[in-house]
């Protein structure tokens, strides 16, 4: 062979150089060893009404909590009660914003925490770990510290999103009310009313325009809030049939006439210039500030976290108030008071955790009247536990309107979560940014959304959740 040793060495060095510069993706996938067998090594105690899961004396609990809009102190707040009940057992709370990245090696290694708040942008997809989680049904059947069965103390429908393959694998702690949000003081000053149909919305858009304002604004990471709004409107208009079709990724779900009617109204609003231009290039909190601070837009579709999220960037005397998403017409299948309510902040107890009983016990304390009231007061948001918010809602107009909406709707609330289950959100953002800025029409939006459904339905490796 004619190659000189020098050249071989150089080629080797070249490969080494290239190799060390390609760490992306590859080395990020490294896994450690471990076993899938549960390692229940915590002491166990006697099962009773005051200790329904049999937590051992002095057994420590480790909780990893998403450190987002709600912080982590509402979990640490039950540490004293836990220590009291279990002979000095210590509850440790570790904050995290990188849940998926930090928990991945721990699930692989078989030593996950006893309680995990799987939330935020880096949450682990539920489908990924559902098989490795405890069934939380015993928790809902247990009595809280006041002696009431926990399931009886909750708002209706709040456990629905936690089921996967027939098991309650996650408990969503915070009540989320979805709808349209507006400034009550601004509406009162202009003599505007909260809309109940899309025609009302479009009429409001025309009035806003004469007042030099836009109807809606949006931000690029949160464009899919308008998907949520559209689906809410469609379900109100068409009833359960629409909800079931969408939830089961039906072959023609997005071309359903009711969905198309909503898209047509939205397209009309886009064409009429009711959307503040440039949203597709605007960071979402900046866009939200255009509504809460600059008051350039008058309505914003979101969940009830919005008040807390924008607290520091809201104009004085804004009086943030929520109302249900509009129906298409006045002859909708569901009453005008009905709306989308679900629970957020999913808590899970991994099956391989050392002290599963302690994880469940921590949740039981958080769901007690005391734990839930403490949360509502500190975060100006309700948990899924009923009756923890006083009439004055701690001075929050947004929280007061949520409770009023819940009381008015009674059993008429609904929820859907195909976006979360199948992880569509980021691609939905791509589609909705184009639609809202007028680059994509309703037909293009429909085919884009339907393609996601069709691809996911055809993919055998994705476990489907049956919606009924």
């Amino acid at each position: 062979m004619s190659e000189s040793p020098l050249f071989q060495r150089r080629r080797f060095l070249g490969l080494v150089l290239a190799g060390t510069l390609v760490p992306v993706g590859l080395s990020a996938c490294a896994a450690g060893g471990g076993s899938d067998t549960p390692a229940d090594s915590a002491p166990t105690g006697e099962v009773s009404d005051t200790n329904p899961f049999g937590v051992g004396e002095g057994a420590a609990v480790e909780a990893v909590i998403f450190d987002g809009g709600y912080g982590t102190d509402y979990v640490s707040a039950v540490a004293a009660a836990y220590a009291d009940l279990h002979k000095g057992g210590k509850l440790t709370v570790a904050p995290s914003t990188q849940i998926s990245q930090q928990m991945q090696p721990r699930f692989v290694g078989g030593n996950p925490p006893d309680l995990l708040d799987n939330s935020g942008a880096n949450a682990i997809g539920l489908a990924t770990i559902a098989k490795q989680l405890e069934d939380l049904a015993p928790l809902t059947k247990a009595k809280n510290t006041e002696g009431d069965v926990i399931a009886d103390t909750l708002y209706p429908g709040m456990l629905d999103d936690g089921y996967y393959d027939g098991r309650l694998v996650q408990l969503n702690y915070v009540l989320t009310v979805y709808g349209l949000w507006y400034s009550k003081s601004l509406f009162d000053a202009n003599g505007w009313k909260a809309p109940t149909t899309w025609d009302d919305v479009l009429a409001l858009g025309a009035q806003a325009k004469t007042a030099g304002k836009y109807l809606f604004c949006w931000g690029k990471e949160a464009a899919s809030y308008y998907l949520t709004l559209a689906v809410e409107s469609a379900i109100k208009e068409g009833g359960d049939e629409v909800r079931v079709k969408l939830g089961n990724l039906d072959a023609d779900a997005w071309s359903h006439p009711v969905v198309q009617a909503v898209f047509a109204k939205m397209e009309q609003a886009v064409q009429a210039g009711y959307f503040l231009p440039g949203g597709a290039g605007t960071q979402f909190t900046a866009a939200q500030a255009q509504w809460t601070q600059g008051q350039q837009a008058v309505l914003y579709p979101s969940g009830s976290w919005i008040e807390n999220e924008m607290k520091s960037q809201t104009a004085a005397d804004f009086q943030m108030t929520g109302c249900p998403a509009p129906a298409v017409s006045s002859g909708a299948a569901m009453p005008a008071e009905s709306f989308h309510a679900s629970a957020g902040e999913p808590f899970v107890v991994p099956s391989q955790a050392k002290n599963k009983a302690g994880g469940m016990e921590t949740l039981r304390l958080m769901l007690s009247k005391e734990g839930a009231t403490n949360f509502a007061k500190a975060k100006l948001s309700s948990t899924i536990v009923k009756g923890t918010v006083p009439a004055d809602a701690f001075g929050s107009t947004a929280l007061a309107s949520q409770i009023a909406m819940l009381d008015a709707a009674g059993e008429n609330t609904f929820t859907f979560n195909f976006n979360d289950i199948y992880g569509f959100t980021s691609q939905n953002n791509v589609l909705w940014n184009s639609f809202l800025s007028g680059e994509l029409d309703a037909a293009g939006l429909t085919s884009g959304l339907q393609k996601q459904f069709d691809d996911t339905r055809a993919d055998d490796s994705v476990v489907k959740v049956k919606v009924s």
Binding site: L21, I124, T128, G278, Q427, E439
Partner: protein, 309 residues
């Protein structure tokens, strides 16, 4: 016959420290993860279990039919071609100005105040990429951004609320502009040093023969620093294939109509958001192959030219 040299303590310790440790580190932190990732790419691993199920080449078949992934590969290849070329041309031009673009009389020298320009243009390279991404995200903001503010201030009314990162026609060019802005200063400094390595007499001679600055740049400076150019091209190319931080900061979801989605973003979301590490590893293997092909091409072309010369 060569006699075997004795293994003294000196020789053994030298071998351990300068050969053994690097090779061990390389095996443990480069080659082992590589083979591990290649193995995972043949499994349906979720990333959260301790066992993996072997599924053969299914992941690769899936990728070949995945429009979104192919779009991401296409965008990465666009970056691979455009970012190095634009950056290198700009930084080479600036380096020429700073080394021999100055006064035509007296000794050959750069523009006056060139050391000042050198320091200023190096600044962006010192700032972490994520900070640059956030700053430029604000500069491009349609309503309150600096760029539209300046343009409308100049009387260009059509840029009022113009979404640079929100239109499929401008999102990618705007992103490339940020990456180029970051790296131009660094490569300019690199090229200045390389051009300084060419004997000053060569430039003087070229000038006496009547060569203008452009001819000097093309026929004297460029060939004189071809080694540095090639290295820079490889580095920039490999960076362009990654570019995760800039793209994630400017358009986290892939930009309008996925016009700025790149492979590394797909790897991240497939692994951590969808919980499909097997598939993500397959994407990683594809990216590694593209990278090897690119470096091979650059080195190969260079070797071919050297042979011909």
């Amino acid at each position: 016959m060569r006699t075997r040299r004795r293994l003294t303590f000196d020789r053994v310790s030298l071998m351990v420290v300068f050969l053994g440790i690097p090779v061990a580190l390389y095996l443990a932190f480069v080659l082992y993860p590589f083979t591990q990732a290649a193995w995972y790419s043949l499994t349906s691993w979720s990333g959260f279990t301790s066992t993996q199920q072997f599924i053969g080449l299914d992941n690769y078949v899936h990728l070949a039919q995945d429009d979104l992934f192919l779009k991401a590969v296409g965008n990465s290849l666009v970056l691979l071609v455009v970012v190095p070329i634009v950056t290198l041309v700009l930084s080479f031009a600036l380096a020429c100005l700073l080394t021999f673009g100055g006064s035509s009389t007296g000794a050959v020298r750069g523009l006056s105040g060139s050391s000042f320009y050198r320091i200023v243009s190096f600044f962006p390279y010192v700032v972490p990429a994520i900070v640059i991404g956030i700053i430029w995200g604000r500069v491009y903001d349609p309503s309150a951004g600096l760029l539209n503010g300046v343009l409308t201030g100049l009387g260009l009314e059509r840029f009022d609320k113009f979404a640079w990162l929100g239109r499929s026609s401008t999102a990618m060019p705007a992103t490339v502009a940020v990456i180029v802005w970051t790296f131009v200063g660094f490569y300019m400094v690199l090229f200045v040093a390389a051009i300084r390595g060419i004997p000053a007499e060569t430039f003087e001679a070229a000038r006496l023969d009547g060569a203008g600055r452009f001819r000097t740049a093309v026929f004297i400076a460029a060939p004189g620093i071809s080694g540095a150019l090639r290295t820079a091209y490889v580095y920039l190319g490999i960076f362009a294939l990654d570019a995760f931080v800039f793209l994630a900061a400017l358009n986290p979801d892939g930009g309008p109509a996925n016009s700025t989605l790149v492979i590394t973003q797909q790897i991240f979301s497939t692994a951590f958001k969808d919980g499909r590490f097997g598939l993500a590893c397959a994407m990683g293997v594809v990216l590694a192959l593209v990278t090897f092909a690119f470096t091979g091409l650059v080195f190969g072309v260079a070797r071919w030219r050297e042979k011909r010369a």
